[in-house]
């Protein structure tokens, strides 16, 4: 770049300092308030007799929510500031009449905006390290923690800023710029959540929870930033985010070269984006409405109402934004086309050409089945063994595999629509096949109608034994049994003698074996609470209910039953 060109950029930068330099100052003050100030406060409040050192595991613990807000909103503000010149008609005309090439202009603005992020971060980091080293206190964090925070925060702020620039080039108004940048930030997560939440309405048995994992949340940068407290970024993640920023920066330049100056004041700078925006909003609103009314209302009537009403509202609002007037109702043909396309899409999925809904594996192919109420244990099975009452289980015996498969086949055949007032049990059925393939479905099952199936599975010895910790082999020995009055909560019986405990356990185990399946599906009456303390320090409780005949006999033999009843 020649000296003259540098001078052109210097002119713009001087102007930037005057016009938007305050963003850098705000950025610095916010970070000082979020990180350096609490360090100073802790120092001034430290009392060596109490030893009240703050419990920070890393810099993100200092003021987590506040830090997230800064890293999320300031880069958007900076992006809005540096591209504002192209969003206002007169300034757009003025700036674009100047002898500066567009690429040069935008690169200059991007660098300036980025420096408004880096500069304050560097100062805040140095100030924080200075405080940690200078103020004599046994700090739980050190300089390396601050540098980790600096690096990760800079990466997150850079990506959000870069995204802000892309959106800024795509739109023609500052307000829409800020709103759309936020939407874009949450869009990947949001659209997946909406799609997965709607799938059970379209495909009977679709296990939405299985796909709505926490991983999805990583895709929304502000949420990811808030989670940095416990989950540091890997080199791979940092590399990917930097690559993404680079991609956004290059994309903005490419787009800016093609952006019409007259887009200033328009909602969207490129006309090709308008239908994309309008139908995109209509589609997202459609999914939102369907999901909401699918949950709240019952039956297809309300769900379809949700789809139609919300998508219509979304379509109309998007048209209003794009056309900058509320008189958009003559554009109804576009909505009809959208509705038709959505109907076709819906029917295509609903007709299930790949046989997703009706697929029940052959008995011979199945290695084991999963039967439970949540998808969580399907994903991480080692959690199950630690539960005191494990509803979710892998079952291996031939009988149980047959029973679960039979329930599955029946559900697929009946496709029962659960009533809002009946007893509903969410059921997750999974298969691990001999060739390693896995298959998982989730259903809402009316309990009464399918009781025989529940009884066959949950009444089996295999299921029962895995259900109760006390029936499983090799649990940590019980050291103490406390029986509490359920109304007062006061301990009325305490057994500490190993022999007594042993004999009590025999009685309760007999009760557990005999407990009917109904009591596992809710509807327990607590007459008292038995509390067990294990040798490993764990504690768990079981109820005394109408099925606890052996326990009752045991207590009556020792004249303890009355105490519990009082």
């Amino acid at each position: 770049m020649s000296a003259k060109r540098l001078s052109a950029n210097r002119a713009m930068w001087t102007q930037n300092v005057r016009q938007i330099g305050w963003i850098a100052i705000i950025h610095l003050l916010l970070w000082l308030a979020a990180i350096v100030l609490p360090i100073g406060l802790s120092y001034s409040q430290y009392d060596p007799k109490v030893g009240n050192v703050p419990q920070w595991k890393n810099v993100y613990y200092i003021s987590n929510g506040f830090e997230t807000l800064i890293a999320w909103l300031v880069p958007i503000l900076a992006a809005a500031g540096v591209v504002r010149y192209m969003h206002e008609k007169r300034s757009a005309d003025f700036i674009h009449s100047l002898p500066i090439r567009r690429t040069e202009l935008l690169v200059g603005q991007m660098v300036f905006g980025w420096l408004m992020l880096v500069g304050p971060l560097v100062v805040a980091a140095i100030a924080a390290i200075g405080c940690l080293l200078g103020l004599d206190l046994p700090w739980p964090i050190g300089a390396s923690d601050v540098w980790r925070w600096f690096g990760e925060t800079l990466v997150v702020e850079t990506v959000i800023f870069a995204l802000g620039i892309v959106v800024g080039v795509l739109v023609g108004q500052s307000v829409i710029h800020v709103v759309l940048t936020n939407i874009a930030l949450f869009f990947p997560t949001g659209i997946m959540v909406l799609l997965f939440s709607n799938m059970p309405l379209w495909l009977y048995g679709f296990p939405d929870g299985y796909y709505l994992s926490e991983k999805l949340m990583d895709w929304a940068l502000p949420i990811r930033y808030a989670m940095l407290t416990d989950q540091a970024m890997s080199a791979g993640e940092i590399g990917m985010l930097l690559l993404l920023s680079l991609l956004f920066f290059s994309l903005s330049i490419w787009l800016y070269e093609r952006r019409p100056t007259e887009a200033a004041g328009q909602a969207l700078a490129f006309t090709v984006l308008r239908p994309l925006f309008v139908y995109g909003v209509a589609f997202c609103m459609c999914l939102t409405g369907g999901f909401y009314f699918g949950q709240v209302g019952d039956g297809w009537g309300w769900t379809i109402f949700g789809y139609v009403a919300f998508s219509f509202v979304g379509y109309v609002i998007a048209q209003m934004v794009v056309m900058k007037t509320w008189r958009v109702f003559h554009k109804w043909k576009g909505y009809v086309a959208f509705a038709a396309a959505m109907t076709v899409l819906f029917l295509a999925v609903r007709l299930d050409p790949i046989g997703y809904v009706s697929r029940v594996p052959e008995l011979a192919d199945i290695e084991k089945v999963y039967f439970g109420q949540s998808v969580m244990n399907w994903q991480s099975p080692n959690m199950m063994e630690r539960e005191f009452e494990a509803f979710d289980q892998f079952l291996h015996t031939k009988d149980n595999i047959k029973a679960v498969r039979a329930l599955h086949a029946q559900l697929v055949h009946d496709q029962p629509i659960p009533s809002r007032f009946g007893n509903i049990q969410p059921i997750v059925i999974g298969y691990v096949l001999k060739d390693g393939t896995r298959l998982i479905r989730r259903y809402q099952v009316p309990i009464e109608a399918y009781m025989p199936y529940f009884q066959r599975i949950m009444g089996s010895k295999e299921y029962k034994q895995q259900y109760y910790l006390l029936l499983r082999p090799g649990y940590s020995p019980i050291r103490q049994v406390t029986i509490r009055n359920v109304e007062t909560g006061r301990p009325v019986v305490v057994l500490a003698d190993p022999k007594e405990i042993e004999s009590f356990l025999e009685a309760i185990k007999q009760d557990l074996w005999q407990k009917p399946v109904e009591s596992l599906l809710g509807g327990q009456v607590w007459n008292g609470e038995i509390e067990f303390l294990q040798s490993d320090g764990d504690q768990f409780s079981l109820p005394i209910d109408q099925y606890s005949s052996h326990v009752r006999n045991w207590l009556e033999d020792r004249r303890l039953w009355e105490k519990i009843q009082k």
């Binding site: 003259k4 001078s7 052109a8 210097r10 002119a11 001087t14 102007q15 005057r18 016009q19 007169r90 300034s91 005309d93 003025f94 674009h96 009449s97 100047l98 002898p99 500066i100 090439r101 567009r102 019409p260 100056t261 007259e262 006309t271």
Partner: protein
């Protein structure tokens, strides 16, 4: 020299400029006339490299203007609503221009301070609309561009300042051969300034003339003949307009003055007066039937 060939610009299906052609010679003051909505502003903004044409070419000294730093350093655009950075003073704006335009002259800036008499350290936004426009002129003249493009620049200036500005413009053109394009919806405003005029209507430059040629190329004749106006005369003259006042015939004709006179004399008229036409009248006749355009430009 500025040359536009078949320039077209469409906004959102609305064609603002539809295949306009235009030629501004170096050192000319070119007036672009036309009613509101004719496409003048759009055309000027394309000339200044602000808007990009959909079709056609716009060249200054043979080079494309779009994204051409070399050309844009020599070209300044003065919009109908002047823009300054928020809270900027004239001095700060001058610093800004100085860094962007190599031809900016500090000396000229100081010199013009006495002409405009504005306080360079006051925020421009605190000035009145007319003073802001003067500030824009002050800065524009300090830049000393080779090409100055102005969109309705004299609106909102009082007669005194207007005269000053016109004087400065004429001086600059004379001294440095600056090329000026200036738009207006009023012919009278440009009459004493422009050497060339283009008339724009409905997105097209309808006609483009040298004003002196225009003046020399159309005449008003007052004639009388013994036996009424011979029919043959009408065939031999390019008559734009004809009016009869008793025995006197009033003709507006196109053509060179001497030839027109010779042609008429051959028919031995009793009276032959060649009267001067005002520029307004010339335009009125040139534009013929387009009443709306005629009235806006000429009124």
């Amino acid at each position: 020299m500025i040359q536009l060939v078949d320039v077209t610009k469409t906004f959102d299906r609305f064609a603002a400029v539809k295949g306009a052609n235009m030629m501004v010679p170096k050192g000319a003051i070119y007036g672009l006339l036309g009613p509101n909505g004719a496409g003048k502003t759009t055309l000027l903004k394309m000339m200044a490299g602000i808007l990009r044409q959909d079709r056609g070419t716009i060249a200054v000294d043979g080079e494309d203007v779009w994204e051409n730093v070399r050309i844009k350093q020599r070209l300044l655009f003065l919009p109908d609503f002047v823009y300054f950075f928020p809270h900027a003073t004239i001095r700060q704006m001058a610093d800004f221009y100085e860094q962007l335009y190599p031809s900016f002259s500090r000396g000229r800036f100081m010199e013009l301070q006495s002409v405009f008499g504005l306080d360079p350290n006051k925020k421009i936004q605190q000035f009145s609309k007319g003073m802001q426009r003067q500030a824009a002129f002050w800065l524009a003249f300090s830049v000393q561009p080779d090409v100055l493009i102005m969109d309705e620049p004299l609106d909102g200036l009082d007669a005194f300042v207007r005269r000053h500005v016109k004087q400065l413009l004429i001086e600059e053109v004379a001294e440095r051969e600056m090329t000026v394009v200036i738009s207006s919806h009023n012919l009278r405003e440009l009459e004493d300034l422009c050497g060339m005029v283009g008339l724009m209507a409905r997105g097209v430059v309808q006609l483009e003339r040298d004003l002196d040629e225009l003046r020399a190329g159309m005449h008003k004749l007052q004639l009388a003949f013994r036996d009424g106006c011979p029919g043959e005369l009408a065939e031999r003259l390019d008559i734009v307009h004809r009016e009869e006042r008793g025995s006197i015939v009033l003709l507006i004709v196109r053509g060179e003055k001497r030839r027109v006179e010779e042609t008429v004399r051959a028919f031995h008229p009793l009276i032959l007066d060649v009267l001067p036409l005002s520029l307004e009248e010339i335009f009125m006749y040139e534009m013929g039937g387009d009443a709306h355009v005629r009235e806006t430009v000429v009124s």
